[in-house]
């Protein structure tokens, strides 16, 4: 261990560990390795202690893992079409992916965060942001389904999101790519002073979780990167890191790293909310889609909304300040007590720790060091509480264990460093394999972290697993953090690129997890609740098939009188009322995905038959010993034929 540590320190600036990939690291075999195995081993049938929700990055989705086993439990489709179950393909779910730019089939999901009450995880919902077409989604932790997606107008690169205040009052969404606001046709190189970086505040309805874009704080055009809310003592404030305060419009790799310091924006959102309540702010243009999924009708709808309240930060005195922070910071983290705000200067070796109390004093004493576009800059010395100087390179992100320690990832030196709050002393450091981005401690963004495990989300996988060609999954590593030294327990691959994760004790959501949908509560427009009601209806060239499934047949399973050129809607209701009995539906030649229909649920796909003949459909989910028999036929006749529309099951024909 020691030699690695020395080696690390010796490597010095700029030298990446990535290439080193040797096998002489942790697991010194023997007794230690076997006790590590016991810590992550779950006997068959045993459940994990924590859920870990990992963003899928460019998969656009959210993946669910169990800890400590590292087993993947589910992929929840959020911002991307998901042919596995028909999300984004089925008629009911397509609207979830509508935006002001039209239907967007893909997204880049980033930072999940679980709802809170009194600063503690409450297990109601999990939120996640989308970077490319700025959006925030809400996912139910009862059904594990995406229930709502709201777009952010006037913004670009929604990276500083989706962080939750301690009673889930607001979710924030930042602007990582400053843009003209309002958008307009103008020369790129005239960006400076002209572009803006609006910070959106989305309020949450506590009963249903519905999101409402309450206001946008129209900040100067820096790149707002990450954020965290104040908590406990600092509740009511939000903190955002920014980079490119140079406002460079090209070659940012170099040009956005010129300033010695960038800014953390400190925003008193309570004050601004009050200002809005009293009629403050200006309604400005902005078109955005607001998509909601109704569990009762099992159908998503899009409302295209117009206009948003914009707030000029200079108009609300005492609400918005900048704090200098060294070297293009990435993560912005707040300790469980809310006293300390941590800036992770990614191009430096240090963490800057700010004291909330000192910030308040500096504001009171007007201890300013100039201003940026009229926003006061608090003097660095007056707000800085301490510096964590570990000698590591490229600090990105910090979480807390609730026992007085912070854990920071260092991307360039590829390690996790444990340090003590208050003394700012380094306690331990462990290498990561390789190039860790963010890390996660369950509850790490709350007043009450569960400091048993820490997961590092590593960007480079290289030789950690059997090679699978040039493209690899990313790699997570699980550490035991109950002792003074962090102990690496387990590697496991993760899907897409997990930028961040949120963990929660399993008992907080396990019992409420829905097992199936009650047929009696199914209010889908095209649901049929028993086989007697199954039927076909023709309306011009549209044919609606009201069909049901049960182990193991479709009703009807023979259909005639469909014609070339018809648009056939298969509305499939699963009549099962038991846990884990889905049926799938796939139709030969359909230009869409299958649908996977949960018990009690109704889903729809469209088929436009192109050729005459007798064409099969079948169940895609192995549902019983008679699953292979779960199939049916559709007879397709010529466009102008007189074949009668009729349907049957067991040769009982109806029309």
């Amino acid at each position: 261990m020691k030699t690695i540590q020395k080696l690390l320190l010796g490597l010095g600036a700029g030298l990446l560990l990535i290439g080193c990939g040797n096998n002489s690291k942790e697991g010194s075999a023997g007794a230690m390795a076997s006790s590590n195995a016991e810590k992550v081993y779950l006997a068959p049938g045993e459940h994990d202690e924590f859920y870990a929700f990992m963003s899928g990055g460019y998969s656009g989705n959210l993946t669910v893992y169990g800890l400590p086993s590292g087993r993947m439990l589910k992929e929840i489709p959020v911002f991307s079409q998901f042919p596995t179950n028909g999300y984004g393909y089925s008629e009911e779910s397509k609207a979830m992916l509508n935006t002001s730019f039209g239907f967007v089939p893909w997204g880049d999901s980033h930072h999940p965060d679980i709802s809170q009450t009194n600063g503690e995880l409450d297990g109601r919902w999990i939120f996640i942001n989308e970077n490319n077409t700025p959006r925030v989604a809400r996912i139910s932790l009862t059904t594990f389904e995406t229930e709502e997606i709201i777009e952010l107008p006037n913004s670009a690169g929604n990276h500083a999101s989706s962080f939750v205040t301690e009673n889930t009052e607001y979710i924030v969404a930042g602007t990582r790519f400053a843009v003209p606001n309002p958008q307009r046709d103008m020369p790129i190189d005239e960006m400076k002073g002209e572009f803006k970086g609006p910070l959106s505040f989305i309020s949450i309805d506590q009963e249903h979780g519905h999101m409402n874009l309450e206001f946008q704080l129209n900040m100067p055009g820096f790149n707002y990167d990450l954020a965290h809310p104040g908590r406990d003592k600092s509740h009511g404030w939000f903190f955002f890191t920014s980079y490119n305060t140079e406002e460079a419009h090209t070659m940012q790799e170099v040009n956005a790293s010129q300033n010695d310091k960038d800014f953390i924006a400190a925003v008193n959102w309570q004050m601004i909310a009050e200002y809005i309540k009293n009629g403050g702010g200006t309604k400005v243009a902005g078109t955005y889609a607001h998509n909601t999924y109704d569990e009762s009708t099992m159908t998503a709808t899009t409302e295209m909304k117009q206009g948003v309240i914009s707030v000029d930060p200079r108009e609300v005195e005492g609400a918005v300040y900048y704090m200098p922070v060294p070297k293009s910071p990435h993560g912005l983290d707040v300790d469980p007590s809310g006293r300390y705000i941590i800036g992770n200067g990614k191009l430096s070796t240090q963490l800057s720790v700010y004291s909330f109390e000192k910030i308040q004093n500096a504001i009171q004493n007007k201890d300013f060091d100039g201003d940026a576009y009229g926003i006061p800059i608090l003097s660095f010395e007056s707000v800085l509480e301490g510096v964590v100087d570990s000698g590591g390179l490229g600090p990105l992100h910090t979480e807390f264990d609730g026992k007085g320690f912070g854990y920071t990832t260092y991307f360039i030196s590829s390690e996790v460093v444990k340090w003590e709050l208050g003394t700012w002393e380094v306690i331990d450091r462990q290498p990561s394999y390789y190039s860790v981005g963010h890390l996660m401690i369950p509850g790490g963004n709350s007043r009450n972290p569960y400091g048993k495990y820490m997961v590092s989300l590593n960007k480079i996988t290289k030789d950690r697993y059997l090679p699978t060609g040039p493209e690899l999954e990313h790699s997570a590593q699980l550490y035991d953090i109950t002792g003074e030294k962090m102990e690496l327990l387990l590697d496991f691959p993760t899907h897409g690129e997990p930028h961040y994760a949120a963990g929660i004790p399993a008992e907080k959501i396990k019992a409420q997890s829905k097992k199936y949908y009650e047929l009696e509560e199914n209010n889908h427009k095209y649901a049929v609740k028993n086989e007697a009601d199954t039927r076909l209806e023709r309306n011009g060239n549209e044919v609606h098939v009201y069909a049901t499934t049960v182990r193991s047949h479709f009703a009807p399973d023979n259909i005639e009188g469909i014609k070339v050129g018809d648009k056939v809607y298969f509305h499939i209701t699963n009549l099962e009322q038991d846990f884990d009995v889905p049926h799938g539906f796939a139709m030969i030649g359909a230009n869409t995905s299958e649908i996977l229909v949960m018990p009690g649920q109704t889903k729809t796909i469209i088929w436009e038959p192109k050729r005459e003949g007798v064409w099969p459909f079948y169940c895609t989910d192995f549902c019983s010993a008679l699953h292979q028999e779960m199939q049916g036929y559709v007879r397709v006749s010529a466009k102008n034929s007189n074949t009668k529309l009729r349907w049957s099951l067991d040769d009982e024909w109806k029309d």
Binding site: Y516, L519, E520, K529, N530, E531, A532, T548, V550, R551, S552, H553, A555, L575, E576, Q577, D578, V581, S624, A625, L626, D650, D651
Partner: protein
């Protein structure tokens, strides 16, 4: 090897029978296996002796599950029977018809063949029943291994379905 052929014949026969169809069409079937005429079937392939039970045993069998005894009034509770008909229609008819064998057995006169407790336990606890109960085990084999689905019917609704069966059997 011989037994394998026998088994294959039985399986093939079963498949053909599952094809259903009526008299006329059958004559046209180009595949004929064995000597039995298909109309003779309906009598299922002989199951092993351990799965067989006598009528007396059946009428003493309460099944396995939450229902140990059911109070049955002499008359019919019509509103309960109506509720039972509704629930049966929504949750059961995809597999069970009263007058004909469908996926599962025809249910006419089921109250003469089974105890009320057995009927309710079969509705409420099908997984355990088809594993352990001698009648349910036999029925699973007779019905082409189609498992009885647990439709998460409440105990009250299972009682209502029983009342519907009683009404039906009284009137038919």
């Amino acid at each position: 090897m011989k037994s394998l052929i026998k088994i294959s014949c039985i399986v093939l026969l079963g498949l053909l029978m599952a094809c259903g169809g009526n008299g006329e069409k059958k004559e046209k079937d180009p595949i004929k296996v064995g000597q039995q005429s298909r109309t003779e079937k309906k009598a299922e392939p002989k199951s092993s002796s351990s799965a067989e039970t006598t009528t007396e045993e059946d009428l003493a069998n309460l099944g396995i599950g939450p229902v140990n005894s059911v109070d049955i009034e002499e008359g019919i509770d019509q509103s309960l029977a109506n509720r039972g008909k509704e629930v049966f229609g929504n949750l059961c008819t995809a597999c069970h018809k009263m007058e004909k064998k469908f996926v599962g057995p025809s249910l006419i006169n089921v109250t003469d063949r089974r105890t009320p407790e057995w009927i309710m336990n079969m509705i409420l606890n099908p997984e355990e029943m088809i594993k352990k109960d001698p009648i349910a085990k036999r029925l699973l084999i007779e019905n082409n291994m189609a498992v009885m689905a647990n439709q998460n019917v409440s105990r009250e609704d299972a009682r209502a379905i029983l009342e519907y069966f009683r009404t039906y059997d009284k009137n038919n």
